[in-house]
Subunit: 241 residues, 2 copies
DNA sequence: TAGTGGTCTAGACCACTAC
DNA sequence: TAGTGGTCTAGACCACTAT
């Protein structure tokens, strides 16, 4: 029974062997692997085959590449475990994991919402919304890419406060006296688009944990629809039921 | 500013162009793409370059391969949206999405738990547990791979009932008179191991939505620790807070 | 400047599919 | 049997890194 499981090409066999070596502790975090040329000689094969094996090891996050320098054993720079509650904020979660949160506003615009956003936020026709694209960091590592929509009339001049900041909910509470509460969250696993991969500084195959949430306030009703994509290799999120 | 975003190799440019064609509706679901040889001629490049482009399109699930036959436009066979609640069962969720649930028991064993399982289930030392590996289907499509542990003394002869079945919780309710309630769920995004990819019949880069849950019963306490990996391309899960 | 990985060409043989 | 993708070899030129 030749199992499909093992995709038993030479390249995958080499990947397995090197994976075992890494997990067996032959290398330390940050160590350089032998060069492609050396691995070719060791395994009596072509560079193409070695590169296929290295691709697999990159995919499973065991190694990473520095152009012109070599392949290196990856370390796990962060391991963020996060319990989601109605009032959770990104910044609090990062702090409680022992890191320094920050955020970068990539884009802000005032626009007419898509049908999906309009329906989600229970908006009347032609009501404008703010749309922000935010990149969120833990220490200096980009951890999540966030797209978020808020009704414009509920937050006059919000764009002025959205410069550099660490907590959107902090701004909402302080400037507009609302108490944001998460209502639902929808989880999915995806891979990044080219632009998301670029912002998050990850390869195109790193899995992302996507969380869409609807946020409401007791007085103002639904005040935010937000979609965040977290690096799956660094984050996990717990939901209490 | 040459953006890193576009990884602007010829292969990625070709991938983008073909992606635009597919999303523009030039092909229908199930259509065959031109062969590698034809694409080589069209884009004036080598087969290697075309294969790099095809790899990208496979990764983002736009196309799939049939050995010896060609590249085909993928259809999305399922789109399961699932709201998680304390009493949710896999089988109910599949049914409510309009599909027929089934399950295959891949392995069953009686064993001593790992430290993690022992602590999670609040077990005394040397208390045995059942460990099951279950593959879950919607219609005929493998949708999730599931590993689950239950205290052995709470469910005598459980292994006898675990043959072919569609609902584990159905068995627990009927045979042991318990009311399983989910307490927490932890979400993460991962990629499959080789064996998981094989069981789920997916490429090694399909993202998986991993959900770990602790399940309790009012009388018996913590009765199950379960880890499921859902095909990220087919499922999304909503949690009410 | 020497060595590394990134990209690409040209060609080969194989396993599998469709006819 | 002809055509397809899967795997692999051999070799080239480039951009980047280390020194």
């Amino acid at each position: 029974m030749k199992s499909k499981q093992k995709n038993s090409s030479l390249a995958m066999l080499i990947a397995d062997e090197i994976q075992n070596e890494i997990e067996g502790g032959i290398y330390s975090e940050g160590d350089r692997l032998p060069s492609e040329a050396l691995l070719c000689r060791r395994f009596y094969c072509n560079r193409y085959t070695i590169r296929q094996a290295m691709d697999r090891l990159k995919n499973i996050q065991l190694i990473h590449v520095k152009q012109g320098a070599g392949y290196f054993i990856s370390e796990r720079p962060l391991d963020v475990r996060y319990t989601i509650t109605p009032s959770t904020r990104f910044s609090k979660m990062i702090e409680s994991a022992g890191h320094v949160p920050s955020a970068l506003v990539i884009s802000k615009e005032l626009c007419l919402p898509s049908k999906k956003v309009q329906e989600t936020l229970h908006l009347p026709k032609n009501r404008e919304v703010f749309r922000f694209e935010i990149l969120r960091f833990a220490d200096k590592t980009p951890l999540a890419w966030n797209e978020t929509w808020l009704p414009a009339n509920a937050f006059p001049e919000l764009e002025k406060y959205m410069t550099s900041f660490s907590s959107l909910y902090g701004i909402l509470q302080k400037q507009y006296d609302v108490e944001p509460q998460r209502m639902f969250s929808t989880f999915a696993a995806t891979i990044p688009s080219t632009s998301e991969a670029s912002y998050l500084q990850i390869p195109l195959i790193t899995p992302l944990l996507q969380i869409e949430s609807i946020v409401s306030d007791e007085k103002k009703g639904r005040i935010e629809y937000t979609k965040a994509k977290y690096r799956g290799d660094l984050c996990q999120v717990t939901s209490t039921l």
